[in-house]
Symmetry: C2
Subunit: 444 residues, 2 copies
């Protein structure tokens, strides 16, 4: 049997509900999705997309998160995907090298038109989507991302279509075709990083998935071997041979939503600065008076480890999302890493002047922890005080990352910071009761 059919078969015949840990992780994921999307609900790019969607018109089918509006199923998938990923505050997954929930969850939410609740099945579908996206990430090969593809976009549509297929329990033939439609429309470029288009690529992948399953279920004609052989998806976007070995190996035995697991972000800024953030927080926590004594801060990365931290002298909090200098300064001045610190608001002259004390260094001789996230990464923060004393702290696995994961209580805190406590409590309850329909209404 060919790879495309095999994938459809594996997806439809597995049972993710056997694994209680996977279910708990999926519940945490839904909670984190709510927090990430609410945090972005006033996003300017989103308002522009909404303008366009309203001009095009469409049936009022599915709520857009935090907007009090309903739009068509495809538009909802796009807008909700955008919102979840807009601030880069949503979960990541190291096998995916991207953001699974920003594609999978909105695609699934767009299936809930009739107020029907799928219950446990909704969680199983979500687990399935993460599983397929992680396996696609492994199978497509490292070079895919390095060449410039945006994995969230390029792998998301196929993964989300598998999640929908599981949810709706479609036939193997329908899922095979739908994988083909989604595969043949997979897209997304890293060139768009740092722009509105980056999160939109997540939303567009979700929309492609919704549409692909719909046309497949209408009997629209398509290939049933898009993932296979020469000229197939892996041969075009990645590594066909690797995919044949890895895509389905041991499918359904363990679940990648648990191991290596989703990484829920504790801070609303680039994950490349999370190690340094943990280090400086731990250094200053018990040394309130330290600030006046710090002469210099050295932040030591492996070579290239700060590639994503493009801002050394940010002017606004938004630019500060990509600045380890700003993150260090915030902690030293006693500010929390709240969303308010990362808006369009200008950074104070005092902080901007102080940030000049932060210096980046690179050390290729340090051996990173075997479980470091991402692999090979570490960050050392070294303070030099006015009396010549140095104090340093090293972090290889930041808070939130697999191996150091956020608990449900931690994610609740994240949600509480973006909506009122009673609303947050109702969302938790809907998730606990496996009531996806009520979850969606509460997100509206």
């Amino acid at each position: 049997m060919e790879l495309t059919k095999q994938l459809a078969e594996a997806v439809l015949s597995a049972d993710p509900l056997q694994d209680r840990q996977a279910i708990q992780m999926a519940k945490n994921g839904l909670l984190d999705v709510a927090a990430a999307a609410f945090a972005a609900k006033e996003d300017e790019g989103h308002q522009k997309l909404m303008t366009l969607v309203e001009e095009e018109g469409g049936a009022a089918q599915i709520p857009v998160i935090g907007q009090g509006k309903k739009v068509s199923r495809q538009s909802a998938a796009m807008l909700n995907g955008y919102l979840i990923h807009a601030l880069d505050y949503d979960d990541v997954h190291s096998d995916v090298r991207g953001h699974p929930s920003a594609v999978i969850v909105p695609a699934l939410l767009s299936q809930l038109t009739a107020g029907k609740s799928y219950g446990y099945r909704f969680l199983a579908a979500y687990i399935t989507g993460v599983e397929v996206m992680a396996r696609l990430g492994e199978s497509i090969g490292k070079a895919h991302y390095e060449r410039g593809w945006h994995n969230t976009g390029t792998l998301g549509a196929i993964a989300a279509v598998c999640a929908i297929g599981y949810l709706k329990n479609v036939s193997q033939e329908e899922l095979t075709k739908a994988i083909g439609f989604a595969g043949a429309q997979s897209a997304g470029m890293r060139k768009q990083f740092g722009t509105h288009m980056k999160p939109l690529q997540a939303g567009l992948a979700a929309k492609t998935a919704v549409w692909s399953m719909d046309v497949a279920c209408l009997g629209f004609g398509g290939s049933d071997s898009v993932l296979d052989g020469e000229n197939g998806f892996f041969s075009l976007y990645g590594d066909q041979e690797l995919a044949e070995r890895r895509l389905l190996e041991g499918y359904g035995v363990t679940w990648r939503i648990v191991s290596p697991g989703l990484w829920f972000k504790v801070y609303p800024f680039c994950s490349a600065a999370h190690h340094a953030a943990d280090a400086i927080e731990s250094l200053v926590k018990e040394r309130a008076s330290l600030r006046d004594q710090i002469e210099q801060v050295d932040v030591i990365f492996p070579p290239g480890g700060d590639a994503a931290l493009t801002e050394r002298t940010p002017l606004t909090g938004e630019e500060g999302r990509f600045s380890v200098e700003y993150v260090i300064a915030l902690a030293v001045f006693g500010y929390t890493f709240s969303l308010a610190a990362f808006t369009k608001k200008a950074i104070s002259p005092e902080l901007r002047t102080w940030m000049k004390r932060v210096n980046r260094e690179y050390d290729h001789t340090v051996e990173s922890h075997p479980d470091a996230v991402p692999k090979g990464r570490f960050t050392i923060v070294k303070l030099t005080l006015s009396d010549g004393t140095t104090i340093s702290k090293r972090v290889d696995i930041p808070r939130g990352a697999p191996g150091h994961a956020l608990s449900k209580v931690d994610i609740m805190q994240k949600l509480n910071s973006v909506t009122d406590v009673s609303h947050a409590q109702m969302i938790v309850q809907a998730i606990e009761e496996e009531n996806d329909s009520s979850y969606l209404q509460l997100l509206a």
Copy 2:
């Protein structure tokens, strides 16, 4: 200046209206588009897409060709693109290695919301779209198609966005961004050849173009260098170095809609089989009794020349669109290459058995005609009769192809075969008067 910006600048500053031949070719193109789409107006796949579009809802903005219905601008771009390409009866272009008008014309038609007519500017925009798509085809390199990309889909969105940009006279900044959105969502796989999804990939590229320009004009944030350098469009999908040399070389001096020119199809099947069709027709025309004597048919291509002819043992006329075996058999059995021969109807057992006599061969030693279309292509049909005699015929430039092009009168005949004469006459008149708005209403 970078390639993306340079392309936007070149598109906006050129004047295609200086070339009367280009204008005439654009008019022929609009005529041929009408014929190709009307021929498909009862297509089953289209009805399924329409069902989905109507479920999603949307403003009644733009007519769908031959349906008496209006849908939203994006949906119209998708549905009209699908219809134009549904039967593979629409124009091709050898530089594109695909179908320019099926993407560019519907994308442009979706701009005509207010019943406004752009007149000459509409033709200039169409010439621009074909120009950019042909240049993209040259610049992306031969390997792009051979690896499995479907050029109509992967090159169409950027080309159509340039056509729209010219039509609406947007700013260089807006067009640069729009090229970026379209480039980052470019997709389409040859694996879908022989299915409904093939023509839909044209429609989806048109839809992506419409959407990309809309979000760009709303000020949505995106990269202004998607075609540039490492990780850019050409580096991902093709050959960056080739693109830097070829994409803009001599832009605006001559127009590729004229030379090598659009190829209007005389037969409703894949153009890669047109050479063989002409050859077999000429062989059997004066030899009515030949059929009973043919033991074997060898069809000789240059290596890879039959890549698009994916069906060797088609079961239906629809599959037969991509089968040189079926085309040969039809001619030998005395059938005409009418639309009726290429429907979902099963191919008769008699023909299917006979088709086994057709054998494909490849010869890299044959030198093709310098004006062969596409470059380097030839097809030799060699019949071996029961008495051992062989008769063969070689074709390098099939009927309809540039160098052997259909005249306006020929295209009128094509249009007359799919709609009544008075309607066809009104369409011709609207095109002659450069009244795009009236053209669109007549297509409805």
